[in-house]
Amino acid sequence: MKSDEIAIAVKDVSKLYRIGRKEHASDSLAGVFIELLKSPVKNFRKYRSLYNFSDVDIENPDKENEDSDIIWALKNVSFDVKRGEVVGIIGMNGAGKSTMLKLLSRITPPTKGSITIHGRVSSLLEVGTGFHQELTGRENVYMNGTVLGMRKHEVDSKFDQIVDFAGVEKFLDTPVKRYSSGMRVRLAFSVAAHLEPEILIVDEVLAVGDAAFQKKCMDKMQDIGEKGHTILFVSHNMRAVTRMCERVILLNNGRKFLDGSAHEVVSAYLKGDRQTTANRSWPADEAPGSDVARLCAVRVRTEDGENTDAIDIRKAVGIEIEYEVLKPGYVFMPSFALVNEEGLNVCVAIDQDPDWRGKPRRPGRYVSTGWIPGNLLSEGLFSVNTTLWTLEPTRQMEYHQMDVVAFQVIDTLEGDSARGDWIGDLPGIIRPKLKWTTSN
């Protein structure tokens, strides 16, 4: 890679934060009073030490002791982004994604290492930064535009497009405080969408609002990407990441864990440390549950009995829940829920096997399987939550586990699915194959 092709070079970057140490709280009135008198000195030390890390060995992020009040948000992260590349950053909560964004946006400096950026950067960590309630729509466009790094003449030349995109022509000279929240967001996003920096850094918080607005955001970003701008995109939404980015970086616990093609990294992330996302089991001592019942395993399988995370859209898929009843005399209600990539709860399914419904169960292992028929779910990734309720003698929850297994519904485009002959993008949460009649 020639050096003049590099847009962003992140070199050995670490970021340290000081989090509050748990403070001793007195439980007597006199004690509280004494604490109060002593607090100015303590507070001064506390607030002064917030950014002072002279007591920490910043060269060795690994030397972390348990009771320390510091936290390494990023540990020796390095990567390069080429000009024109669209790169996604994914990871679990607390993996360091937001910190990385803040470093790249110059909001906070790295504790160690350096970042070199070639080109003009705009970072969008939220829409509408700098908006003022008392200013009119027109005034806020200029305010927000310049806050985002545009020059006045750039805002001038794009002003009509911005207003047109937002659809607020009639309210241009009305103070923003009289806008509906939807209008405000549209105007704010519209300003952001008309930025033309060489490098764009975007947070997923942008994808708030209704589905139509999210789609508009995504389309616009894809547009910008196709125009050859460099984009760095942080997200939780795997579909958006795979759609937008060629390359994805997976952060895990402050470190760069994987860096590669979007498909490869996203599927590795979804699998986690398991071989496949379609099977998960717990040893007895780690099993979620209570002293009444506990979860042993959850599996995704096909009618042929195959345990797989790739499901043909035309075929039924079974969610198999294995659990152990530890105490006799309880009536249970096993259930699972399907959640799609947008976080939408697609359905909740409750075990209704007539042989067991309403009857107390003896201790032992049970397997409940719920079958989702073929030609019902749309394509995409579904993750499974599972819950075990006790209905009698008292209603209580024995366990509730999120994202235990996940599977991908795939259409092989053979023409006999609900798609028929259509091979383009096809929205919808479900995709039942309907019976059609046409008369003439």
Binding site: D4, E5, Y17, F44, Y47, R48, L50, Y51, R83, K102, L103, L104, S105, R106, I107, T108, P109, P110, T111, K112, G113, S114, I115, T116, I117, H118, G119, R120, V121, S123, L125, E126, T129, G130, H132, E134, L135, E139, Y142, M143, T146, V147, L148, G149, M150, R151, K152, P175, E198, K227, G228, H229
Partner: protein, 278 residues
């Protein structure tokens, strides 16, 4: 899109600090934003008020009336041969500017802390915005000053030529104070509570309601280390045509410059971690 790699600006983000106290190139790149920040301050200053900019006259007017009655008529503070109203007016107008802009500048970072965590632009713009925006009020209150001077038939002398020096000095004080206090306030919110006493103390230690000449001669050099003394005595002299009291002005000028330079150093040292200490 064609990009010429040689023309791209290069930004290096590092943990260490750079030596440059004020990055003028960067300020230049953000000059439009600076303009809009000032303009925003001015636009929203009197938003949803009935009297609007008239407040820029009413505020000092009420203070002048109050001071003239209490200190002029009742306490009968000696002011030489200058009528008390005139004596107070030339002091209250720069003082109002100094106190309001210092107050706003010191709170500028805390008031905009949301922005600090979301976007980067030169942090210096925050405390400097009120310093410029408040000049509007100052300019309007000059009308009041001119009216009172006409009423008392004061003819301006060549000393008026020195006024710009004192206006600059008047701006330097809240600028330096604002740099210090805004950076301190983001770390220690105590500043907010202390500010009203600081402002009050500054007012009584400056020759606003009394004349600097009532300070015993041997203490004058220490007294005039307070730069506000120099500004107010300077305003009086250049507007009312007395000799410019350089002995009061010079020490204050040194303090004002020192306040600004140390303020800029402290602000520079702290600005990178603002987002982490909010």
């Amino acid at each position: 899109m064609t990009i010429d790699p040689d023309k791209l600006p290069v930004t290096v983000i590092e943990g260490s600090r750079s030596w440059q106290l004020i990055n003028f190139a960067e300020l230049k790149a953000y000059r439009d934003l600076a303009y809009f920040l000032v303009w925003r301050d001015i636009t929203v200053m009197y938003a949803q008020t009935i009297l609007g900019v008239a407040w820029a006259i009413i505020q000092p007017l009420v203070q002048i009336a109050l001071f003239s009655i209490i200190f002029g008529k009742i306490a009968k503070i000696p002011t030489g041969d200058i009528p008390y109203v005139l004596f107070a007016t030339v002091a209250i107008i720069p003082w109002t500017y100094i106190s309001t802009s210092m107050m706003q500048s010191s709170q500028s970072l805390v008031a905009n802390q949301h922005m600090l965590g979301k976007i980067y632009f030169p942090r210096l713009l925050f405390p400097m915005t009120p310093i410029i925006a408040q000049l509007l009020n100052f300019g309007i209150s000059i009308i009041l000053l001119v009216a009172i001077m006409i009423y008392y038939q004061v003819t301006p002398t060549w000393n008026l030529a020195y006024l710009p020096i004192f206006i600059l000095m008047m701006m330097l004080i809240p600028a330096g104070g604002g740099l210090w206090l805004s950076a301190l306030a983001i770390r220690y919110r105590d500043v907010k509570f202390a500010m009203q006493y600081v402002i009050q103390m500054l007012m009584y230690t400056a020759p606003i309601i009394y004349s600097a000449s009532s300070i015993p001669e041997q203490y004058r050099i220490f007294y005039s280390l307070n730069p506000i003394v120099g500004v107010i005595e300077g305003f009086r002299a250049s507007l009312l045509g007395a000799d410019i009291p350089w002995l009061y002005v010079a020490p204050g000028m040194v303090t004002a410059i020192l306040l600004f330079v140390t303020g800029a150093i402290y602000f520079k040292r702290m600005e990178r971690v603002f987002a982490d200490v909010i």
